[in-house]
Every structure is written in C-alpha cells, then in structure tokens.
C-alpha cells in the first residue's frame, strides 16, 4: 500500500506549545479559591499508629483543615482492594501518607505539618521479596482475606497475594534428558521512573456529591472509575481532566495520588485543593518499579536446543499490591525470552514487602524477566561452546513455533531472527574502537519480545468532528506524555481520511466529560488501539459524507466518489461538493435543510483474546508481540571500574512505522533510560526501609555525558495484521533487553558474570579484584 502521510517524519503537533512555555501541566493550573495540601508521611516502614495529635497544626496560621485516615477509611484497588488513601491503624512502607494539612498557601501547610505528633509502635520490616516469603517474615496484611479480590487474583503463601503459573509439557523429563543444565539467580532492584514532572493533582469535592480532579495521569478513566467507587459517586459526576503530562513511563498509570487528593478534598467541599509532590516525595510517595528476584534453570541438548525451563520469580510489590498484580503475569508470560521452550514450569509470585508500592515501569515485567532469560542464554552458549547468536537462532520464536502461553507465531508476528541477524552484523561488522589506558572492550547482544499486558476486551475510542471549513477536530482518551502519540495519531487520521495533516487538529487535554473512553495510556498500545479507533471513526465520517452527498446529489450512495476533499457522483463529475459544503449539514438554495452536521465516531475493541488458563497460563492472551534485539559495545576501565558504552543498537520489528523519526527517538529514549538502570540506578534502602537516595544527585539518571556516541535503531517492518496500517507498539520496547546485553558485553570484556544490576564501578572493581 502506498501511503501519503503514514511513514513520514512530520513534525510533532505538540512541539510549538512546548517550546514556547504555553503547554499547560497540572502544576501550572491555579483555580479560583484554591487551597494547598501537604502530606505527612510515615518515617517507619512497618508500624502501628498509636496516636495522632494534630491540635497544634490546626491552630497554625492559614490552616483550614487536617485530615487523617480516621476521616475516610474506605479501601480501594482494582485487583486487590488493600489500600486506604491515608494509613489507618498501620503503616506498611516508609513514605505512606498518615496525615494531610490543607492551608491557604503551600508554605503554611508545610509549616503546620511539623506540628503534627504521631506515636508509632515499630514492627519488624521486610524489604525484599525473597525474604518476605520466608516462614519467619512479618505478615504485612493480617486481614488480607477480608479484602475484595478480583477473580483472577490467586493468593497463597506468606505475604503472597498472587501466584501465576505457566505449565507446558513435561519439565522433569526435559531435565532428565538434558546434556547441559544451567542454573542461576538474578536480581533487578527497586528503581524509580524519575519523570521530570512530579506528580500533582487538584481535586474539588462539591456539596452536591460531585467531584472534579485535574491530575498528571496516564489513566483518567481508571482514576474516574476508582474515585467513583471510592466515594460512591456515579461516573457522570466524577470528572477527570488531564492536561499535558511531563513523562509517565508507567509511574502515572492506574491510580497513584488521586485517591489521596480526593479524600483530602472532602474535608473542604466546594474548594479545589492542590497537592504537588516534591522530588523527595516522588521517590517514596508514588510507585517504584522492578524489584524482581528470579531463579532460572534451563535444560539444553548438546546440539543447542532448549529442552525445558524451570523458573521462579518473586516480585517485591511494596506495602500495597494492587498496582502490581498484572506485572506478575507480565513477568511470567515473557520469562522464557523470545524462544520456543517445549517444556515449562514457571511460577511467579507477587509478594508484599515494606517498600513503596511497585507499579508499572516501562516494560512492565519484561525487562526484569529478560535480564534473567538473556543472561542465561549467553551462559548456556558458553557451555555449549557455541556462538551466542547462533544458539539464539536455533531457538527463536519464528513462524510456526509456539510461545510459552501456547500462541503459534505466524508470518505477521514479526521477525525476531531478522532482528538478531541485523544487530549481530552491525555490532560485529565494525572494528573495535581504539582506546587508551587500561580499558578492555566487550560486546554483547540480547534478544527480546514484549506484549501489551492489558484486558482482553481493551477499548479505545476516537471522535472526529468535521468543522464548517472542512477541517477536523479530533478527540481521543489517550494521553500525550511525550511519547508522540498525538502526532502519530494525527497522521493516522489524515491518512485514513485522505486529507492533509494541516487539516487535522487533535485536542491536547483529555477530559472524561468530553473525551471518548480509553482504558489507559500504557502497554505501548496507543498507536495500535487508538489508531484502530481512528480508522473506524474516519470510515464512519466518510460514510456519513457519502450518505449526505447522495441525498444532495440525489443519486445512490454507491455512486458517490470521495476524492480527497471532493465529493461527486461517478456519473457526473462536474457537479462537485466539498467536505465544507456538507460539514454542518447541507442547506438548499431555498434555505431548506437537507442533511445534518457530520461527526465521525469509532470505538475499537480487541477481539478474540482470552484470559490465561489459571492452572497452565495458556491462552490467546497477547494481542501481539513486538520482537527485537539489542547490541552493546562498551569499554571497562580496569583501574577505575568505570563502564563506558560506545555503541547501542536496537533492531525492532514494530510493524509499519507511522513516523520514523518519532519512533527512532522513542526507542533511543527507552534505551538510554534502561542504560541508567543497567549501570547506575538503584533505590538504596536503609535496613529500616527508608530510601536513602531520594534526590537527583544520589539517584543518578543518565545525563548527556552518559549517552553512547552511537545509538542506532533498525526497523524491521513486518506488518501487523491487527494494527492500523500494519503498526505495532514500540514505546517501551527499547528498554526491555538493554541490561542483559550490557551484562553480556561486560562478560565479554572481563570474563565476569554479573547477575544483578546496576553494574556499578564499585562492583566491577570488586569483581576484578576477586578474579585477579
């Protein structure tokens, strides 16, 4: 198919507002009569709240109200209703909100916060999932079984709120028949998203029982649903408005601070209350990511076929599990990496820990799974004395092969083999860089796959309004948080409608009162889901144009030809109408209305998907898989332990690429973010469970100086059957396999196997000393 707009590097539709300072974020919004809130958080990771004394705070200048868990103790959570907006009786992580002050200024609220006195009785805490499941670990939720649980939640064992299983073939037999068995444990630590824009929300609760909330969220409709249930307000009286979002990466998905802010707002009906988190609060007061301990055991034949895998993963989910239930399945379903494994036993446990809640973070279970899977592959290849790329090639999920959950790969599924080959050629086809000093060079690869972890009936919508001049205004429920969706979606609309880009305008604010329903902007499914909805809405709009034209021209609908913005009958091209003639309804020269104004609408619902079988994990769960491969070339300074990445390569089969420049930059941004989690990023907890590096100096994200000289993205474009113009998701995928590729390259350089990240200079030095 030839495209006129899809596949082109059009400029971002949101760039003008963002370079002029006109783009509005929640922090920029000031409403009449607005009050400000500040939150007092628990210093203890696990403790009983004995007493809260806020009399002094109430008397402090400018204070309007103080709110504690006593004021509002309803629980929320979509899968596990285990959380209250403010702690009640017990705190389960350091940073959990215990009280809030509402005041006329932020400073007055902050000052009063210091006057609140809380008595705690400390309890023993447990921070890591592998410890939390042990017999002697403290119980984090004593009344777990009294909570409302979704039907797919399957608890069992100490602090385990979810156990997800994958079963296939006969694992015992595979290990009996194996020539080689490789067994290792891996750890991906707790890390943070570090979106540049801190979380913020403004909520107003009204005496008539309605609520309005402005929030920096990826999921306005999830927030709407949650607040509706929490406050027992009908959905049409809960309005959620999301302006531009300054980075999400999963950390603003589901719900985060909204229940808290909404519950604070109930104390002052009729007045908006704003809560903006500080950078320190971002680390402990939102959600963190990863926290996965995994054990891999792989059975292989001597000719290099993977016979079976036995995998156990423990996800440290923090004090509240709701955000993490589905990450457990994301880890389990991708735990093999992109390989066919005939015999499988995967057990993935979601475990309560006394850390901030673990939520979605770019990759949703897949990066933590791939760290083990792809390190394992290199270690096996070494034992086989086989080239790692060749070993991969023998086992990759190519057409006709079956993945861990029983889906058979087709010609539309994407070519992971081509990705591995492209990266291998690019990485090894060039001479190694010349370096000075005590530096050794290493190269490594890691293949990957990622599916969108989402409901099987996931919905996306689009409304396209035709204006009187023939331009269109489009509304979607998806959020623009930097990923470039609004540009790609505008391209899809222009292409589907057959009009130039300049005639398409997309509304940049999502408002549950006006925008079409959208599940949420996560799982890299926006281009796919909303793109499909736009194509349906465009067809609807064009069908309505045809019908109207048929009435005006007094011919059969099937005679009508839509030729760009011109409309005529096949039999009489002379008598031509323009979209603008029909947009607001056609009126005859005599003044009689003939047709109605035109609006296109479309909802897309994924079809044919099913929930995994609870015993075997098998099922047509994933709408699609995006495959790829990462290549890394780096140098390790043996004196300082410092690692410098020179080249970072990613070949990705994301189907048809809607906007190559945007797609390239998404993959590059994800890779650089993942480089941070590979080499420097880790939340450091004290034994008492307090985060010790809650600022941007001690929690080090990559800066310009850390970016490799060469970042190369290669697109392999196998069209996706179910995608708009053949597109698949790609927003997270760049992040999935960077860590194992880095660790594989470090082995190549140093002959040291790292099984936990980040691989810091300190660890390298220690390892070198241990080896020499």
């Amino acid at each position: 198919m030839g495209f006129s707009i899809v596949g082109k590097n059009v400029e971002r539709v949101d760039a003008y507002e963002k370079v002029t300072g006109k783009a509005i974020f929640v922090g920029d919004i000031k409403l009449p009569g607005m009050l400000y809130a500040k939150v007092l958080r628990s210093p203890n990771a696990h403790a009983i709240i004995k007493n809260i004394d806020f009399a002094g705070a109430l008397k402090s200048e400018g204070v309007v109200a103080v709110v504690t868990g006593k004021d509002f103790n309803h629980r929320f959570g979509i899968a596990v209703a285990d959380q209250t907006p403010l702690a009640v009786h017990k705190v389960r992580f350091a940073g959990e909100p215990v009280a809030a002050v509402i005041a006329v200024t932020e400073k007055a609220a902050a000052k009063a916060l210091k006057l609140i006195k809380i008595d705690y009785e400390k309890l023993p805490c447990v921070l890591y999932p592998q410890n939390a499941v042990q017999k002697d670990a403290p119980v984090i939720h004593e009344k777990f079984y009294q909570y409302k649980l979704a039907p797919w939640v399957s608890p069992g064992g100490k602090n385990v709120y979810q156990h997800f299983k994958v079963r296939r073939g006969d694992v015992d037999k595979a290990f009996n028949e194996a020539d080689i068995i490789v067994e290792n444990t891996y750890w991906s630590p707790y890390i943070h998203h570090v979106q540049l824009e801190p979380h913020g929300a403004i909520a107003q609760y009204n005496h008539d029982g309605s609520m309005v909330i402005y929030t920096s969220s990826q999921a306005p409709f999830v927030v709407q649903h949650c607040l509706s249930e929490l406050h027992d307000i009908p959905l049409n009286r809960v309005r959620v408005i999301v302006p531009y979002v300054g980075g999400g990466f999963g950390g603003k998905s589901d719900v985060t601070i909204e229940p808290l802010v909404s519950c604070i707002a109930r104390a002052v009906p009729g007045r908006p209350v704003k809560l903006l988190l500080t950078r320190e609060e971002m680390f402990e007061g939102t959600v963190v990511g990863r926290g996965v301990y995994s054990h891999y055991k792989t059975a292989v034949s001597k000719d290099g076929k993977i016979l079976g895998m036995e995998i156990k993963c423990y996800l440290g989910s923090g004090g509240y599990a709701d955000y993490a239930v589905n990450i457990v399945s994301g880890i389990a379903m991708s735990a093999t990496g992109p390989y066919e494994v005939p015999n499988l036993k995967i057990d993935c446990y979601g475990v309560y820990t006394n850390t901030p809640p673990t939520g979605a973070l770019r990759g949703y279970g897949h990066p933590e799974a791939h760290f083990g899977a792809e390190r394992q592959i290199d270690m096996i290849a070494r034992k086989l004395n086989m080239d790692p790329a060749e070993f991969r090639m023998k086992n990759l999920l190519v057409k006709g092969r079956k993945n861990a959950i029983g889906q058979i790969m087709t010609e539309h599924s994407g070519r992971v083999d081509v990705c591995v080959k492209s990266v291998t050629e690019e990485l090894f086809g060039k001479p190694k860089p010349e370096v000075k000093g005590n530096i050794t060079i290493g190269r490594g690869i890691a293949a990957y796959m990622k599916m969108p972890v989402m409901p099987t009936n996931v919905q996306s919508g689009a409304i396209i309004k035709l204006n009187g001049d023939g331009t269109v205004t489009m509304s979607v429920g998806a959020i623009e948080m930097g990923q470039g969706s609004y540009t790609a979606l505008s391209q899809i609309a222009a292409e589907a409608l057959g009009i130039p880009m300049e005639k398409v305008h997309i509304n940049t604010e999502v408002d549950t009162a006006y925008s079409p329903y959208e599940w949420q902007t996560v799982a890299s499914h926006t281009t796919w889901g909303v793109g499909n909805a736009i194509i349906i809405a465009s067809k609807d709009l064009k069908a309505k144009l045809r019908e109207a034209a048929a009435k005006v021209l007094k011919v059969d609908v099937d005679k009508i030809v839509l030729d760009g913005e011109k409309i005529y009958s096949r039999d009489n091209k002379e008598k031509m109408l323009l979209w603008s003639d029909l947009a607001l309804g056609y009126t005859s020269p005599k003044g009689t209305a003939v047709t109605s104004p035109i609006i296109g609408e479309g909802y897309f619902v994924a079809r044919g998907l099913e929930k995994p079988d609870p015993e075997t994990g098998q099922g047509n769960v994933a709408a699609d898989w995006t495959f790829g491969c990462v290549g890394v070339e780096l140098g390790v300074n043996k004196d300082t332990g410092e690692i410098r990445v020179y080249r970072l390569i990613n070949a990705i089969d994301a189907g048809k690429i809607i906007n190559p420049k945007l797609a390239h930059d998404q993959v590059m941004g994800a890779m650089v973010q993942a480089l941070g989690s590979s080499l420097s990023e880790v939340l450091v907890f004290s034994d008492e469970g307090k985060i010790r590096n809650n600022d941007l100096v001690d929690y080090k994200i990559p800066g310009l100086e850390d970016v490799p000289e060469q970042v190369k993205v290669i697109f392999v474009e196998t069209p996706e059957e179910t995608g708009p113009f053949g597109a698949r998701g790609l927003g997270e995928h760049g992040a999935v396999a960077v860590s194992p590729a880095v660790a594989n390259a470090i082995y190549d350089a140093l002959k040291v196997d790292f099984v936990d990240i980040p691989i810091t200079a300190d660890k390298v030095i220690k390892a070198i000393k241990g080896v020499d």
Binding site: R12, G21, G27, D665, M668, D695, L704
Partner: protein, 154 residues
C-alpha cells in the same frame, strides 16, 4: 520586603517574604508558568532562566538576590510572531518529547547562543551539563542546538 525585577521586558515591583525564590516569584508574582519545577533543589535544570545574561537555576536563587536584575524566561524567547532560531530547531529536530525539561534546556542554550557564536561540542555539552531529560536520550537536544547555530551563523 519589596523586590524589583524586569522579566521579559516588563518591570515587576512586588512585596514578598524574604524566603521567596526567584522561581516562585516568576510563577506566582509574574504569573509566568512556562518555567518548570522539577526538583526545587538545583539538581535538574528545568527551572533555568537567564539572569543578567547568565543561565541560573531559579529554584535556588532568592528573589531578593535578583533585585534589579534583568530576567528572560522561555516566554521571552520568541519575538512577536517569530520563534527564536533555537525554538525552531527544537521543533525541527524533535528535541521535545514530554516538554518538561524543554524550557530549561532552551534557556541554557540561549545563554550560550548569546555569548558564543561558534561553540564547540564541548561548549554545548558544558551548557547542558546537569540538565536532566528523561525522555529524549539527549541526542536530539544536542543536535537541535548545533543546528540552530549552524543555520543562524552560516
């Protein structure tokens, strides 16, 4: 205390408490929201504005210290209906994703632009050092800045 600051050519003379930061002054007293707050601790660069020709992190400067200063914020970058060459190149080169770091990046680049017509790679890197961006992987930002210099001076 009373503080007088000229922001984007407009004089603001305001009564403030002594601990008011320049960032707060810009947002609350001057009502300009383009400058962003990422950390309030001088660690991210999002709040960078130009003060008397130099890039400064407005979150760690007291408004009182800016008494009598000339300040430019991102809103003061464009001339009437014409975007500054840096703004144009940021759009052209896709140096913008979520846009939250963008005002600070632009102001850091503008300070360099005004004092050094032919910066080296290293000059650009230094100007951006300590400016965090979580979205772009930095390369597009650096390219945009190089491009603005090239298209303007060549």
């Amino acid at each position: 205390m009373k503080v007088k600051v000229v922001i984007n050519g407009i004089t603001f003379c305001e009564e403030i408490s002594p601990n008011t930061t320049l960032l707060e002054f810009i947002k609350e007293k001057a009502g300009l929201t383009g400058t962003k707050t990422g950390c309030e601790n001088g660690e991210c660069g999002a709040c960078t504005v130009i003060m008397n020709g130099k890039p400064v992190r407005s979150c760690i400067i007291l408004a009182a210290e800016a008494h009598g200063a000339i300040i430019t914020t991102v809103e003061g970058l464009a001339e009437k209906d014409k975007l500054h060459p840096l703004q144009q190149s940021f759009i052209r080169k896709g140096a913008v994703q979520c846009g939250f770091c963008t005002p600070g990046m632009l102001m850091a680049a503008k300070a360099l632009y005004d004092r050094n017509p032919a910066p080296s790679q290293k000059d650009i890197e230094e100007a951006l050092s300590g400016h965090l961006c979580r979205c772009t992987g930095y390369k597009p930002i650096k390219e945009a800045i190089e491009d603005a210099f090239n298209s303007h001076y060549n």
